[in-house]
């Protein structure tokens, strides 16, 4: 299945992109996606322990299963205001 990964702020700068597609086996979870990301984008590896996840624009946990077409946003610590 294909999911769309969105990157913001520090993660976007480090990756040099604000989104990309990730091809994952069926029944993968967010944690599986993050493991694949560590290999594909080593520049992000140091930051992946300090992020939250939004699946289709709602915060969720890393054990959440993914489905084809999902939008997974990696949310670094927010600093609005």
């Amino acid at each position: 299945m294909l999911i769309n990964v969105r990157l913001f702020a520090l993660l976007k700068d480090r990756a040099g992109a604000d989104h990309f597609s990730l091809d994952l086996p069926e029944k993968s979870t967010i944690a599986h996606a993050i493991e694949q990301l560590r290999h594909r984008l080593p520049a992000l590896a140091d930051h992946l322990n300090h992020i939250a996840f939004a699946l289709n624009r709602s915060y969720t946990q890393s054990n959440t299963p993914l489905q084809d077409g999902d939008e997974l946003a990696l949310i670094p610590p927010v600093s609005g205001g």
Partner: protein, 145 residues
């Protein structure tokens, strides 16, 4: 017309329009909070030049709308405005604007505080500090570096 004006804007926040929006004969007080860019130096001694805000718009805007509804459940609000900037914000310019009209002043103050605290807690917006040497630092609260 809605009694809430919630938006994320790439341009200067319209303070006087916000006050006009919340002005209402049912209100006994209007509280206005502006979060502004303040002067700072980084560890290398460089001066802060400006701030740059980035938002996950499709998520942050509904989050602000949810915070507005939560504020209404906490305080009697007649009208409210919540506006947040994206892009570059120069010194003394507001990056966030909250205006609340309530029947009584203490409710308006309480609602403003509730909303800004909620925004800072988890709304998907990020701030980058731009320094005089041209470098930039993403602000990462609560992360050991």
């Amino acid at each position: 017309m809605s009694d809430d004006w919630i938006d994320i804007l790439p341009t200067a926040l319209p303070t006087s329009q916000a006050i006009d929006f919340v002005s209402d004969s049912r209100a006994g007080g209007i509280a206005l909070f502006l979060g502004t860019t303040r002067s700072e130096k980084n560890a290398q001694g460089h001066d802060l030049r400006s701030l740059e805000y980035e938002a996950y718009l499709e998520m942050a805007l509904p989050q602000l709308q949810t915070r507005a509804q939560a504020a209404r459940s906490q305080c009697p609000i007649v009208k409210q405005v919540i506006l947040h900037r994206t892009g570059r914000v120069e010194f003394s310019q507001p990056s966030v604007l909250i205006a609340v009209a309530s029947p009584h002043r203490h409710e308006a103050f309480a609602a403003c505080r509730f909303i800004i605290d909620a925004i800072k807690a988890d709304v998907a917006i990020w701030k980058k500090e731009i320094w005089s040497d041209g470098s930039g630092t993403w602000v990462q609260p609560n992360v050991a570096t």
